[in-house]
């Protein structure tokens, strides 16, 4: 996959301060190679049945539509000529063409319906495989790495990119295929009667259907990408400034901010207008080429059909072409053009497909997180003592944890204190193997942490990170993620012990209810406690909690603390906190500061003048 894309864009305007996630910037100004599409084209092969039938039906529809017009044109010409003499009128077989006209009319209708149904069926099947493939590619990546790439925005963009590839099949590939067939079909139809005319028609149509879309793509793809990156920059800036609305209004800067946004949008609008102009030009160009093609066919047709028509009708030289066919030729070319008309727009949009594909490829090419040994090689821990020795972790070049050593006997409870940014959460990430330490080692039950297979590792730790994600599933299912076997009573009891009983009672459907998007039906503190409940329900022997009481008032915090300690009886517990609340109930206290473990002691042996003691005293 193309590494070159990773180069930062050279001409990103310096004035644009709102930056966006690195992945998007790297693609901003460069035209991705068509090669980016290869994996997605390969995926098509799995669904060639549906897509093939869809394309075939599209072609049949088009042929029927073209044939209907062409045959009707011929039929009119033939009957009009026959109508000139009584004998010819009586001899004229109108049953076959009239039946043909009716048949084509029906074929066109049925074909259109069938085509739409099958192409959509095929595309949706394809998207299902595509989603699965993408998900399986992303799944092994470290969540930390994904989050560094820009978190929510990246996720949103991933979704949009998958959708963008949708248009690759329906709007670019299938129409292109149908267009090629349409040109061939029109050429064949004309070629049966007049090969030279067919040649003119095919050359004209190929130019119309090939040159113009190619120009549209070549000249337009850069703009399409710039348009997209400019739009996402604007969106990111808007998002940021809206968060700062309070300050901006109070300091009287909001209008200035609006002007700034308007300026940036004017730039985006300019690109949009350029695209619209190019689109208009493509329309003019392709219609003009069609006009020339038709004129060429008509010119040759007239010449071959009536070379001496006006001078000497009795001595035509060479073989004359049947004059009744001209209408058929012209209408066949016009019919084929119907398949070419949507191509320039589709190809202009190809840039979007391509950059979506390139981005998806580069996300998939990211380094996967920790590798897990296969089941046969995996070690089995004995008991659950946890030993961390000389652990160092860096984010890029910045050290986050430095030579940290810590042991936790099975069943021991440890509160880990420290100011924000001291590396507490990173420690949990390392234990979950989302982050790979640069030095040191960790053992669980006497075996190295990285020799455990994933199932054993996950079954050993119950983790509640700072941000709780609620899935679009019932509350019960969200909780059962941790404990599939838990009864409704157990779930309810756990929620009640964390002070969520009132909240649960207010839910019309109780545990069977669904959270709305992003779990906004719970307040911040409730969401946090819901996450704690989920972790505590897990039967894992070691519980890791990251700031479980953050955002809670004192009474609730004390209730949560009691529930945690009750649920962790007999289990090991590491609780990260910066509120020194209820710490006397922990067996051990540790203070982490600037990535180093400063103190590790028990509440009883806590010396009066230690930093821990002062921390506790301040909030007592």
């Amino acid at each position: 996959m193309s590494r070159a894309i990773r180069k930062p864009a050279p001409d990103t305007p310096a004035a644009v301060t709102a930056s966006e996630p690195a992945l998007a910037v790297s693609h901003a100004e460069q035209r991705p190679h068509l090669r980016e599409l290869t994996p997605y084209l390969a995926l098509m092969r799995e669904h060639r049945g549906w897509l093939g039938i869809g394309a075939l039906l599209a072609l049949i529809t088009l042929l029927a539509a073209t044939g209907l017009l062409a045959l009707s044109g011929w039929f009119l010409s033939a009957t009009a000529v026959a109508g000139l003499s009584v004998a010819a009128t009586q001899a004229f077989n109108f049953f076959t063409p009239a039946a043909g006209v009716r048949g084509l009319a029906l074929a066109r209708t049925a074909g259109r319906y069938g085509e739409r149904v099958t192409t959509h069926e095929g595309t949706l099947r394809l998207l299902a495989s595509l989603r699965r493939r993408l998900f399986e590619a992303i799944e092994p990546l470290s969540p930390a790495a994904l989050q560094h790439a820009g978190q929510g925005e990246l996720m949103t963009r991933l979704g949009a990119d998958v959708d963008a590839l949708d248009s690759l099949y329906v709007r670019v590939l299938i129409p292109s295929l149908v267009a090629i067939c349409a040109i061939l079909a029109a050429g064949t139809l004309i070629g049966i009667f007049a090969p030279t005319l067919a040649l003119v028609a095919v050359i004209g149509l190929v130019l119309t259907g090939g040159l113009v879309p190619w120009l549209a793509w070549w000249r337009g793809s850069r703009d399409a990408m710039r348009h997209q990156s400019s739009a996402s920059r604007l969106r990111a800036r808007l998002l940021e400034r809206l968060q700062g609305l309070g300050e901006l209004v109070i300091y009287g800067r909001w209008n200035e901010e609006l002007e700034r946004l308007a300026e940036q949008q004017a730039e985006r609008d300019r690109i949009e207008r350029a695209q619209a102009r190019r689109q208009a030009l493509a329309s003019w160009l392709s219609h003009s080429l069609l006009g020339l093609t038709l004129a060429g066919v008509a010119l040759l047709g007239v010449m071959q059909m009536a070379p001496y028509a006006n001078t000497d009708m009795t001595t035509p030289s060479g073989e004359l072409l049947d004059g009744r066919l001209l209408a058929l030729f012209l209408l066949a070319v016009l019919g084929a053009f119907e398949a070419l008309a949507p191509l320039p727009l589709a190809w202009q949009g190809l840039g979007r497909c391509l950059s979506a594909a390139a981005r998806l490829n580069s996300v998939q090419a990211n380094t996967p997180a920790a590798q897990f040994p296969s089941d046969s090689e995996a070690a089995t821990p004995v008991g659950h003592p946890l030993e961390i020795e000389q652990l160092s972790v860096t984010h890029g070049d910045t050290p986050v944890l430095t030579e940290l050593s810590l042991t936790l006997a099975a069943g021991e409870h440890l509160a880990l204190l420290g100011p924000s940014g001291s590396g507490k959460s990173t420690l949990l990430d390392v234990l979950s193997r989302f982050h790979i330490p640069s030095a040191g080692h960790i053992t669980l039950g006497g075996v190295a942490l990285d020799s455990l297979d994933e199932a054993t590792l996950r079954a050993s730790f119950a983790v509640c990170p700072q941000d709780t994600h609620l899935f679009c599933a019932s509350y019960a299912d969200n909780l059962r993620l941790a404990a599939p076997e838990a009864s409704d009573e157990a779930l309810t009891r756990m929620l009640e012990s964390l002070g969520l009983g009132d909240w649960l009672a207010r839910q019309p459907q109780g545990l069977a209810g669904f959270p709305d998007e992003g779990g906004r039906s719970l307040s911040g503190g409730q969401l946090r406690r819901f996450g704690v409940a989920r972790a505590l329900l897990s039967p894992a022997p070691i519980v890791l909690l990251d700031e479980p009481c953050e955002g809670l008032d004192r009474t609730s915090a004390e209730q949560v603390m009691s529930a945690i300690l009750a649920a962790c009886e007999g289990r090991s517990l590491i609780m990260i906190t910066h509120q020194p609340l209820g710490l006397e109930r922990f067996a051990r206290l540790a203070l982490l500061e600037a990535g180093r473990l400063q103190e590790d002691t028990t509440p009883t042996t806590l010396s009066r003048d230690s930093r821990l003691a002062r921390l506790m005293e301040r909030t007592a």
């Binding site: 219609h287 008509a298 028509a309």
Partner: protein, 612 residues
């Protein structure tokens, strides 16, 4: 975190729209179209002209066929028709292109105006309203939903006019030539909308369902992606097959919907095909003498006329078919409309609405009062009431009591007042009132004895909230937000006052250090002190603080409190808080309950604690 869910939901539209009985998205979208200027008309005009040129094109084809098949003419007489054929196609291409361009311009203008209006409304509704909205949903409204109107104004709306006009135009041309052919078109034409309505009624609900299904499938995928960490932590990853299974389930449901929805386009397709077939058969039989009716008077039907009519036939249905193609744009726009209208009101571009916006802008555009005149001797509230509009209690069918007041209160220069009260007691409303984000429904505010109409004038008050906003830009940009022309020395002084000097001196690029996304990271405490530095720079006589130490660790809290002490010197402080540490800063405590002042007492002067 104790979000300021204090004030009840501000229904975003205080005056209009949502209150009126029924919201019709189409009508709202129509009122917006005004902003497109002349471009929409140009788009329609181009399409109509293109139809006129089509007549020339049809004439040329018919003329050529007649000339060659019947009259045996040669190039000498037929070349004009060939030229017309080429020229008419070229011209149609140009007109079609221009139509698309005009549509884009129209939609662009409308989108720009609407976005501007929307952002102004955000400012009018105030930061507390903004903060209560979901972070992504605001950007989604101001950006994505406004963008989603493009298809409606660029394509769908002009097409609705054309779907009526173009068939009528063609009918006017065909009827005089041959009434039977005209009749074939005229009788099938009204059937089209009837059938489309019939199919449409069933399909509309289904197509809404389809949108929902698509949306749901996308969300499920996103849901798993964003929740990947959680899935892994609980050992339930490897959801690939599930992703596919869910996609297939959605596919099945979606296809059920689509199979019906596609019927409407099939109806059109059917009528197009059938009318061409009917015309061809009728005209052919007419030539053969089997059907003798249809012509006016005695003039016989020529091949030229017959072909001319035949070429026009598909174009007769084309506008309707295109309308069908753009139907999804309409659905999208209407969905956006029902989301946006409650914010910008039912008629966002009327003079009244814009005058209101200008008045608001005029206020916030006032040059900040010059420092020496920015004096606060006293601030007085007299029987002030704030009532949020549409605050209707469904259960009791009564207007709920005011969010604040009636409240009478006097604060004098240099006082440091703590404001306490439970969530919903009106604390935030009081802050909003002072900042001019809500209006008093009753009572008056006095500043130095003069009544105020719209909160405090700019420059009088500074606000430090629970969340600090760090804008992408340099440190200097972030500080100059509060005072655009401050010198570097003034910036450094403010950093010193806010206890950020140590940090600042270690920055290799000093004031030019980039902050925000991709820049130097700030801890929560540093960010909070940055907003204090802004407050020092702004140098307003009144400082409004909303839980300024929320979610800070003890160490950061102590530093913020120390900085607040310095900020309080010579200024009047109004502090919303529950924290006992912060109360030590204040001399007076005001406790609100249910919008009423229930306690107003002096606080004992702070006795400095040991180490803080």
């Amino acid at each position: 975190m104790p979000r300021t869910a204090a004030a009840p939901d501000v229904s975003p539209s205080p005056t209009d729209a949502t209150a009126s009985a029924e919201f019709v998205p189409r009508r709202w979208l129509e009122t917006l179209a005004r902003a497109g200027g002349r471009w929409p008309q140009l788009a329609i005009l181009c399409a109509l002209l293109s139809t006129l040129v089509l007549l020339a094109q049809a004439w040329a084809i018919a003329r050529l066929a007649q000339g060659v098949a019947i009259d045996h003419e040669g190039l000498a007489t037929l070349w004009p028709a060939i030229a017309v054929l080429a020229a008419s196609l070229s011209l149609r291409g140009a007109l079609t292109g221009l139509r698309g361009y005009a549509g884009t311009r129209a939609s662009q203008q409308i989108r720009r105006r609407l976005r501007e209006r929307l952002l102004q409304r955000f400012a009018e509704l105030g930061p507390l309203w903004v903060r209560r909205q979901h972070r992504a949903s605001l950007a989604n409204r101001a950006w994505d939903q406004v963008e989603s109107l493009h298809g409606y104004y660029a394509d769908f709306r002009p097409q609705t006019r054309l779907a009526g006009l173009i068939p009528l135009m063609l009918l006017c041309v065909v009827f005089p030539l041959n009434w039977a052919a005209g009749l074939i078109l005229a009788t099938t034409a009204p059937l089209v909308p009837i059938f489309m309505i019939l199919v449409g009624i069933a399909a509309r609900k289904r197509s809404q369902e389809q949108f929902r299904e698509m949306d749901r499938m996308g969300r499920h995928f996103m849901d798993l992606l964003t929740g990947l960490k959680t899935l892994k932590l609980f050992g339930s990853a490897r959801r690939g097959p599930q992703v596919e299974a869910v996609s297939h389930a959605f596919r099945k449901r979606t296809m059920r919907v689509l199979r019906l929805a596609f019927l409407s386009s099939t109806v059109l397709e059917f009528f197009t095909a059938v009318s061409i077939a009917l015309l061809a058969v009728y005209l052919g039989f007419h030539f053969l003498g089997h059907l003798q009716f249809g012509t006016w008077g005695d003039s016989p039907l020529t091949l030229q006329t017959a072909l001319f009519i035949l070429v026009l036939a598909p174009e007769f249905y084309q506008p309707l078919r295109e309308l069908g193609v753009h139907y999804h744009a309409k659905a999208e726009a209407e969905a956006a409309a029902s989301d946006l209208a409650p914010i910008v009101g039912s008629a966002p571009f009327t003079q009244e609405a814009e005058a209101g916006a200008q008045a608001h802008n005029a206020i916030s555009d006032l040059p900040a009062v010059r420092p020496q005149t920015r004096k606060l001797h006293s601030l007085m509230l007299e029987e002030v009431c704030v009532r949020y509009p549409n605050q209707w209690n469904r259960q009791t069918s009564t207007l709920t009591p005011p969010a604040l007041g009636p409240l009478t209160l006097r604060i004098t220069q240099g006082e440091r007042v703590a404001l306490t009260g439970a969530s919903g007691s009106g604390k935030s409303t009081l802050l909003n009132l002072l900042l001019g984000f809500v209006e008093a429904s009753d009572g008056l505010l006095y500043l130095n004895g003069h009544p105020l109409s719209h909160g405090l004038p700019p420059g009088m008050a500074t606000w430090v909230g629970q969340e600090t906003v760090v804008l992408s830009g340099t440190l200097a940009d972030n500080l100059r937000l509060a005072r655009p022309h401050a010198s570097d020395a003034q910036l450094e002084a403010a950093l010193d006052n806010a206890d950020l000097l140590d940090w600042y001196q270690h920055l290799p690029r000093g004031l030019e250090t980039r902050l925000g996304e991709g820049g130097q990271a700030l801890s929560g405490g540093q960010a909070r002190r940055l907003s204090l530095a802004r407050a020092f720079l702004h140098d307003a006589p009144l400082v409004l603080l909303d839980e300024p130490t929320a979610s800070l660790d003890a160490d950061s809290e102590a530093r913020v409190i120390a900085a607040l002490k310095r900020l309080g010197e010579g200024r009047t402080l109004l502090l919303l808080t529950h924290r006992p540490e912060l109360l030590t800063l204040c001399q007076r405590l005001i406790h609100l309950d249910d919008g009423q002042l229930v306690q107003d007492r002096p606080l004992p002067l702070a006795t400095p604690r040991g180490d803080a």
